[in-house]
């Protein structure tokens, strides 16, 4: 029986649902994340907060560093490549990464074209601010979507905006008549079949996670209640006072996002949260990269 790579790749994302994917920069951090209950880790040299602080061009991480993290844990390992940088993606596939994040957190390598992800055997996750971006990435071969949030800020406002935007547009599509859907496909600049799928199923054809600015169990619960199927946590964990405890609390908050009493207990005594920067205080909006 022939392998259907795209289906298998969408299915791996289904296995990650209800889980927390954590940014890690060392094998030690990867182990802390795994022990805290991460369902996958994102291996990168610098977490987004430090990328933002350092400035300059941010690129794919050193494969040796990524391999060190692959050795350290048994859960799936993801890594980021620059938007449009298919050679970085080829390298990540060569080291058998479990998921590639074609990410706006790194400096875009191509200001016009995203990677043709259908050419790859490994799966891709891509960021999206709205339904059009999400469906365009899916038609390029992404098998998982996440909000773009505003990475490295500890400010959840953009992730909320993107998730609300996507869910609102999905609700709007599902109330449209068939002839209206043809026009919607034109407006969204995507294939009619994809639009039809979303209208009929009231969801994206792939798993949709929240990412960007999640720093507390309450942030994670907020995103889950807004319809996220899981959560990426970047700088929020290893930029905080007690990473192991905060990580474990966020994992539990994602599982029991509707139990307010448990959320109250989980939010207690976590030490200092990352300081963060407000959306208005930042110069560079990473979410505006790649549309």
């Amino acid at each position: 029986m022939a392998n259907n790579r795209y289906e298998l790749n969408k299915e791996l994302a289904q296995m990650l649902k209800g889980g927390v994917i954590m940014d890690v920069t060392t094998p030690e951090q990867a182990k802390i994340a795994e022990e805290a209950g991460a369902c996958a880790v994102m291996a990168l040299e610098r977490i987004p907060a430090d990328i933002r602080a350092a400035g300059g061009v941010a690129r794919m991480s050193d494969p040796k560093m990524i391999k060190g993290i692959q050795e350290a844990v048994s859960i799936p390992v993801m890594a980021k490549c620059r938007i449009g940088h298919f050679a970085e993606a080829q390298i990540l596939q060569a080291i058998e990464i479990d998921y590639i994040d074609e990410s706006e957190v790194l400096s875009p390598a191509d200001d016009k074209y995203h990677i043709d992800k259908t050419k790859f055997d490994v799966p891709f996750v891509c960021g999206a601010k709205d339904l059009g971006e999400a469906l365009r990435r899916i038609s390029e071969g992404a098998s998982m979507i996440r909000t773009k949030g505003e990475p490295g800020t500890g400010d959840v406002v953009q992730a909320v905006r993107h998730m609300r935007m996507m869910q609102g547009e999905i609700r709007r599509l599902s109330s449209m008549s068939e002839d209206e859907l043809y026009q919607a496909a034109k407006d969204l600049q995507v294939d009619y079949q994809l639009v039809k799928y979303v209208a009929e199923n009231k969801k994206l054809p792939v798993v949709n996670f929240a990412a960007g600015g999640v720093a507390t169990p309450a942030d994670a619960a907020l995103m889950m209640q807004l319809g996220a199927e899981g959560v990426f946590v970047g700088s929020g964990i290893f930029k905080s006072g007690n990473p192991a405890k905060r990580a474990a609390a966020i994992v539990k908050a994602v599982t029991n996002f509707n139990d307010y009493k448990m959320l109250a207990e989980l939010s207690e005594d976590l030490g200092e949260a990352m300081v963060g920067i407000n959306e208005q205080e930042i110069q560079l909006l990473m979410a505006e990269r790649g549309k």
């Binding site: 298998l8 790749n9 296995m15 058998e96 479990d98 994992v251 539990k252 599982t255 139990d259």
Partner: protein, 188 residues
């Protein structure tokens, strides 16, 4: 028939949909109080076994779930669920629920590039499609358990009394036969 589906992490909704399409009632087990309601069977879904094992312990679910299974409640574990039920995990000190006389090998086919589709014979059902996602297989099987399916020489499904495990994900295909087998043959 009321089936509790472990919903700590992973692909639990897919199981719920499939069981409901076969006429079973389902509910999600996310914390201790969820298992106080009446329940005829348990499903342990695919996902990450490390996450589910940890949360089973920390949410005080591990012992009650193990007791239910030991006292004969039917259970169906897919992929991570198989690992949770295994008495032993190859090259790993961890044991989770540990009620089934098998040794599971985690990530037995390697990373995501090793994930694959197959079509093989399942004892009592016939040939069925199988999706293996970073899947385990059964490295060793004890005498209390029975082999139900083999793929490329490796054991990928087994049963022991009221416990059913598959290394693949019937809940991800359109094929309802394994869930039907669970409800009709195991839960009977």
């Amino acid at each position: 028939m009321r089936v509790g589906v472990l919903a700590l992490q992973g692909a639990f909704i897919e199981h719920e949909k499939m069981l409901e399409s076969l006429g079973a009632e389902t509910f999600e087990i996310r914390q201790r109080r969820d298992i106080d309601q009446s329940m005829d069977a348990i499903v342990l879904p695919g996902g990450e076994s490390t996450v589910m094992g940890k949360l089973l312990n920390e949410l005080d679910l591990m012992n009650p779930v193990r007791d239910f299974i030991k006292s004969g409640m039917p259970v169906f574990g897919t992929c991570a669920g198989l690992i949770l039920l295994a008495e032993k995990i190859y090259d790993d000190k961890a044991v989770h629920i540990g009620t089934m006389n098998i040794t599971a090998r985690r990530n037995a086919y390697g990373r995501q590039l090793g994930s694959f589709n197959a079509k093989e014979e399942f004892k009592g059902i016939g040939e069925i499609p199988m999706a293996f996602i970073r899947a385990p297989y059964i490295e060793e099987i004890g005498e209390k358990a029975e082999v139900l399916a083999v793929c490329e020489g490796k054991i990928v499904a087994a049963r022991q009394d009221k416990q059913l495990v598959t290394a693949f994900h019937p809940e991800l295909t359109d094929d309802i036969s394994v869930h039907k087998y669970f409800l009709e043959e195991i839960c009977r």
